[in-house]
Amino acid sequence: MSRERQQPFKSDYAKDSSAPTVGREEAIPPVVPLTYVKGTETPAVGKPHGNDKPYRVKIRGKISRD
């Protein structure tokens, strides 16, 4: 089994050289607090309240790693 297969959840965090390492592995992502800074809520199609059809809402926001 290849090294990549052993780390199916390897994230971009692992590429960060400042990420802490554990033993000989380097793929443990650091635990960082994610702060919701600002979000924009896409208005739902139709009436958000009282609508009798399912609708989709998308929320976008910037997250801070401070």
């Binding site: 009798d52 059809k53 399912p54 609708y55 989709r56 809402v57 997250i63």
Partner: protein, 217 residues
């Protein structure tokens, strides 16, 4: 069509047959370069399908009174619910138009529509509510179901509970759903050619062509 019987008084826990309004389902959460996007679907009405005994046992873990179980063997992660659609919009095939989906029209007055309203089409469950319940005639499509977090539903329950199907009607819904989910999809079997094989003709076509489709009712 017989009207279902419902109860409007909620009990102290989520129960099978409960109907809730404005239930959210997370479609996906994606993060790219510090921008996070959450897409969620909001269903105006859903009905709970999870077995009531499972819900009853799970509720013991959340009860403030009474003895809590020794382990978490009966605790649930999620509750299975099915959207409840406006029947008039289902007949027009427009009930999911706000999520960019066009569905097949079902002529209400034709045989298919009448069969649906008699609950003789396995895929659908028609619900006609009493006059004192503010829900129009509705349809559950058994192809559509989703799981909702137990914690989310418990928190939403006080404000979003609409009514609860009475025992007999919820059992009817549950049994028909289970039956539909347990169906066996059979391939369309193509009849062999009627021409008699001759000594020089090739072997008859395979009974199961490569592009066979599955009958899903």
């Amino acid at each position: 069509m017989t009207k279902v019987q419902v109860k409007t008084k909620r009990i102290a826990r989520v129960s099978q047959g409960d109907i809730f309004r404005d239930i959210e389902c997370i479609e996906y959460v994606a993060e790219k370069r510090g921008i996070i996007e959450v897409s969620k679907l909001v269903f105006p009405l859903v009905v709970v399908l999870t077995q009531d005994c499972d819900l009853e046992q799970d509720a013991r873990y959340r009860s403030k009174s009474g003895k809590k179980p020794k382990n978490h063997d009966k605790k649930l992660f999620s509750v299975l619910v099915a959207p409840v659609y406006n029947a008039a919009q289902v007949f027009l095939g427009q009930h999911l138009s706000d999520v960019e989906m066009t569905m097949t029209e079902i002529p209400e007055t034709a045989t298919l529509g009448k069969m649906l309203m008699q609950n003789e089409r396995p895929r659908y469950h028609y619900l006609n509510f009493p006059d004192d319940i503010p829900i129009v005639p509705s349809i559950v499509d058994f192809k559509h179901y989703l799981s909702v977090s137990v914690i989310y539903l418990e928190k939403a329950r006080p404000k979003k509970f609409v009514c609860r199907l009475s025992t007999l009607f919820r059992e009817d819904l549950s049994l028909r759903f289970a039956g539909y989910l347990a169906r066996i999809g059979l391939p369309d079997i193509v009849a062999p050619s009627k021409a008699l094989p001759s000594a020089t003709s090739p072997a008859p076509a395979a009974a199961f062509p490569a592009d066979r489709s599955i009958d899903t009712h």
